[in-house]
Each structure stands twice: as structure tokens, then as C-alpha cells.
């Protein structure tokens, strides 16, 4: 517990000092939220919709930070730690690798929650957003999506043999997920064919789930995303543990 507290405190401070996660995970989604708000705002999402454009986009906006922390921040940090032999130094101490990984997940999760709260405040103050769906269910699905996207990041960190490959893999996965999952560019405005392609991305399913719970849509909208994300998590967690390397 002592080790956990000290490592957590230190890693949290370092992530603030680094500014990568605060910029890409917190400032970036706020900017996107403002743009979405200014373009659609409190107008109905489509003709005859029971909810506004911002209502529809809220779930997607909250996914941006999950994407930034899970697919860029965390895997790059872990491969950097391996590259700098920081993990190797930990290897010759009594600390368990699970604790180190758990600390990283927690630091990034907290950043995501800060991002979520900021977006909520901006959307509600500027465009009168209030959640139609059940808040508890939304938070639960938020946690679920976060953990499954983080498992992808963990797998990237474990599989990438060096820093260069890690950055390449992260770039190849992060940007498509950021732009083509509906997190930044709304899924609904995409052509039908593009949507079919977007559905392959796990984050698209995450965004669908977040939308379904935040809008309080019927449960059947959530079934497929939950199954896909659960499968992704199981596979990625197994691979990331199997291929974890200190050095």
C-alpha cells in the first residue's frame, strides 16, 4: 500500500508536469466540445428528434479523453519507461508489475474523469445539457469503455519491441479511432458506407454504448457494443500479460 501510494503520487505529478495528457486528454476534448456546441448546440439532433445535437454528442465527446490517454498517453509512456530502463530498475525491486500497470491505469482514468466532468460543465452551462439517461448506467458504461480501450493500449505497450514501433502503432490506431469512431466527427453525419467501416473500430462501439446510456436509449442498442468491447478486453488483457517485458 505504501508503495502504491508513493508511486501513484509520483506518476500523477509527473503526468501533470509532462502536460501531454492534460493537453490531449483534457484540453483537446474541451475544444471539440465547444466546436460541436457552436455548430449544433441546443438545436434538435435531427428533424423531430427528442434530443438536441449536444445531447447526442455528449457521449462521443467523453470518449476523446479515453482515446487520448488509452491509445497514446499510456502505451507511449510505458514503452518510454521500458526504453529508458526505468522498468528494468523496478524489476530488481520487490514491486510487482501489476502494481505499476495498475497505477498507470488509475492515473489515466482520473485524467479521463476530470475531462468528463469538464465537458459536462461546459455542455450544461453553455448549451443547457442534462443527461436523459441513467447517470449510474452511463458511468458504468464509461468505466467499461475506458478499461477496454486501455486494454488495447496495454497490449500495444507489451507488443511493441521499441519506442519507434510503439509510436507508429499508436499513431496508426489513435488517429483513425479519434476521427472515425464518432468521438470527434459525429457518426451520424458520415455516409452510410463509411459508417459500416467505422463499426470495425472498437471505439465506435464504445461511443455507441456511451451515446445509448447518456441518451437513455433502449437497452438493445447497447448489446452489440458490450459484447464486442468485452471480447476486445479479454483478448488484449491476455496478450498484454503474456507479452509483458521489463526490458
Amino acid at each position: 500500500m505504501k508503495a502504491f501510494n508513493a508511486i501513484f503520487k509520483n506518476e500523477f505529478k509527473l503526468s501533470l508536469r509532462d502536460m501531454n495528457i492534460p493537453i490531449f486528454g483534457i484540453v483537446q476534448p474541451i475544444i471539440v466540445a465547444i466546436i460541436i456546441g457552436l455548430t449544433g448546440g441546443s438545436k434538435p439532433a435531427f428533424e423531430g428528434a427528442g434530443y438536441s445535437f449536444i445531447d447526442q454528442s455528449f457521449g462521443a465527446l467523453t470518449a476523446i479523453c479515453i482515446c487520448a490517454t488509452g491509445l497514446m498517453g499510456m502505451p507511449l509512456l510505458l514503452s518510454d519507461y521500458r526504453h529508458r530502463k526505468i522498468l528494468k530498475r523496478y524489476m530488481v525491486t520487490p514491486v510487482s508489475p501489476a502494481l505499476l500497470l495498475f497505477v498507470q491505469v488509475l492515473v489515466n482514468l482520473i485524467m479521463s474523469i476530470i475531462s468528463l466532468i469538464s465537458i459536462y460543465i461546459i455542455c450544461s452551462v453553455c448549451w443547457g445539457y442534462s443527461m436523459d439517461g441513467n447517470v449510474g448506467l452511463f458511468l458504468l458504461s464509461y468505466l467499461f469503455v475506458t478499461l477496454s480501450i486501455y486494454s488495447i493500449g496495454m497490449m500495444l505497450a507489451s507488443l511493441a519491441p521499441n519506442m519507434k514501433t510503439a509510436s507508429l502503432l499508436c499513431t496508426l490506431i489513435y488517429f483513425p479511432m479519434l476521427f472515425f469512431s464518432g468521438a470527434t466527427i459525429p457518426y451520424e453525419i458520415m455516409p452510410k458506407a463509411a459508417r459500416a467501416a467505422m463499426d470495425i473500430l472498437p471505439l465506435t462501439q464504445g461511443v455507441k454504448l456511451l451515446k445509448a446510456t447518456s441518451l437513455g436509449l433502449p437497452a438493445e442498442n447497447a448489446v452489440i457494443p458490450i459484447i464486442i468491447l468485452a471480447l476486445v478486453s479479454v483478448v488484449c488483457v491476455i496478450l498484454s500479460i503474456k507479452f509483458f517485458r521489463w526490458e
Partner: protein, 244 residues
């Protein structure tokens, strides 16, 4: 005398290159043992295999009566390690890395006292990237001592230090030795080896050339000092003459 480290038949290859070849080694409790050899002789690989950082191909290692891989968590409560190349998060402060290191152990040493002994007091708020090479090296040795270890591994402990700092480090290691600390170190400085080491082992191409006390090794060679004896044993004598 009880053994702190027993290595039997340790072999490790990288591709076709045999980095360590059937190394047998025993270090007694309370002893300072020097592993010598020129660059690429297999010193670092030996240490990393002993610590379980690298997987051995063949052979066994018993460190403080434990298996470094199977008993990792328990073993590293009492073992401190300074790697040759250690790097840190650039923006981490000296006090922060000391605090984190301290938190990993059940009965850690007081790192503020260690900072003082290593001439680093007043640098708590500096980030690691702001330290000079010598200061960073001293920090690495210091971190290896935070666990209050029974056994410490120091890979090139004073590389990059000025003579005053080297002497300070030696003095500190010697004071810990009187408290029963066992040390395995590597070094390229023969004055350091003569001052600190009870016994030494010279490696060449991953194999043991000779092992014994400094006196024994010098006596067995055609020379009367360790510098020349070392070059003779490690086969660098000719190379040294050629370059002259």
C-alpha cells in the same frame, strides 16, 4: 564461511555469440568481490543473469539462498542494484525518486542521510536531468543502498566521478562492509579494485581467466602491480603495447 552467492555453470548466448560461458562463482558473506574484464568480456551479462533480469541458457544461481526469478519479490527486499546505464524520468526530482524507492521496501535506509554521505544534499528539488553526470552516477549508487541491502550489485560504480567523489563512495562502501554488507562490483579502475576488493575474478570472452585475492593474482603474474597483471590476464597487454 557462509555463501551469499553461488553461481554454477552459468551460460548465456546472444545468437552465436557466447557472452558468458560456464561461469562458476562463489561470493562469501561480507565480502567485496570484483568482476573485471575489458568491455564485452561478459561482466554486465553475468550480473544481469545473476539478478534474473536476463534469462540464463544453462546454469543455476543462488543469491542469499534464493532463486532470483522464483523468489524475486522476497529476494529484492535485501538486494540493491546499480545498473551501468540507469535512466530516469527526465522531470522527476531527486527527492521524489528517493521517496518512491524508499516506499518499495519494508525497512529502508534514511535517504536524506545518504544524500549527505554522497555529497548530494541540497539537490532534493533538482530534477534528474539537471544533475551532472557524476551527480547522477552517485544518485544511482545511492538508490541501490536505500533498501538497506545485505547484498549490493554495483556495475561500474564510479565511472564519471572525480577523484574526491570516488574516494567518498569507496569510504561509504567500506563503512557498510564493516556492517556486514556483501558487494559484487565491476570496475575498470585498478586502484579502486585494490582498495575495495577482497577477491576478484577476471573474465575474458565470457570465461574465467583467473580468480583470487589481488595479492595472489599479482604474485601469479610476471608483474608486480595489479594494473599490468590485469592487462596480462585479460589479454590486453599486447593490444596496449601495439597502441604505444
Amino acid at each position: 564461511m557462509t555463501k551469499a552467492l553461488i553461481v554454477k555453470g552459468l551460460t548465456k548466448s546472444y545468437g552465436n555469440i557466447r557472452a558468458v560461458d560456464c561461469l562458476d562463482l562463489e561470493v562469501n558473506k561480507g565480502e567485496i568481490f570484483g568482476l573485471l574484464g575489458h568491455n564485452g568480456a561478459g561482466k554486465t551479462t553475468s550480473i544481469e543473469c545473476i539478478l534474473g533480469v536476463k534469462k540464463v541458457d544453462v546454469g543455476t544461481v543462488e543469491l542469499l539462498g534464493m532463486n532470483p526469478t522464483a523468489d524475486r519479490k522476497k529476494l529484492f527486499e535485501s538486494v540493491g542494484v546499480q545498473f551501468q546505464q540507469t535512466s530516469y524520468h527526465e522531470k522527476v526530482r531527486v527527492s521524489e525518486i528517493c521517496e518512491v524507492t524508499k516506499s518499495l521496501y519494508k525497512a529502508p535506509a534514511d535517504w536524506r542521510k545518504l544524500l549527505k554521505s554522497f555529497g548530494l544534499s541540497g539537490m532534493e528539488k533538482r530534477t534528474v536531468s539537471e544533475l551532472s553526470g557524476g551527480e547522477r552516477q552517485r544518485l544511482s549508487v545511492l538508490l541501490a543502498l536505500i533498501p538497506n541491502p545485505q547484498f549490493v550489485f554495483l556495475d561500474e560504480l564510479t565511472t564519471g566521478l572525480d577523484s574526491k567523489a570516488r574516494r567518498d563512495v569507496w569510504k561509504y562502501i567500506e563503512s557498510l562492509k564493516t556492517d556486514g554488507l556483501t558487494v559484487l562490483l565491476t570496475s575498470h579502475y585498478m586502484d579502486e579494485v585494490e582498495t575495495l576488493c577482497d577477491r576478484i575474478c577476471i573474465l575474458k570472452k565470457g570465461q574465467v581467466v583467473v580468480m583470487g585475492t589481488v595479492k595472489e593474482l599479482v604474485a601469479k603474474s610476471p608483474y608486480d602491480n595489479l594494473d599490468e597483471a590485469y592487462l596480462w590476464y585479460s589479454g590486453e597487454e599486447e593490444a596496449a603495447n601495439e597502441s604505444i
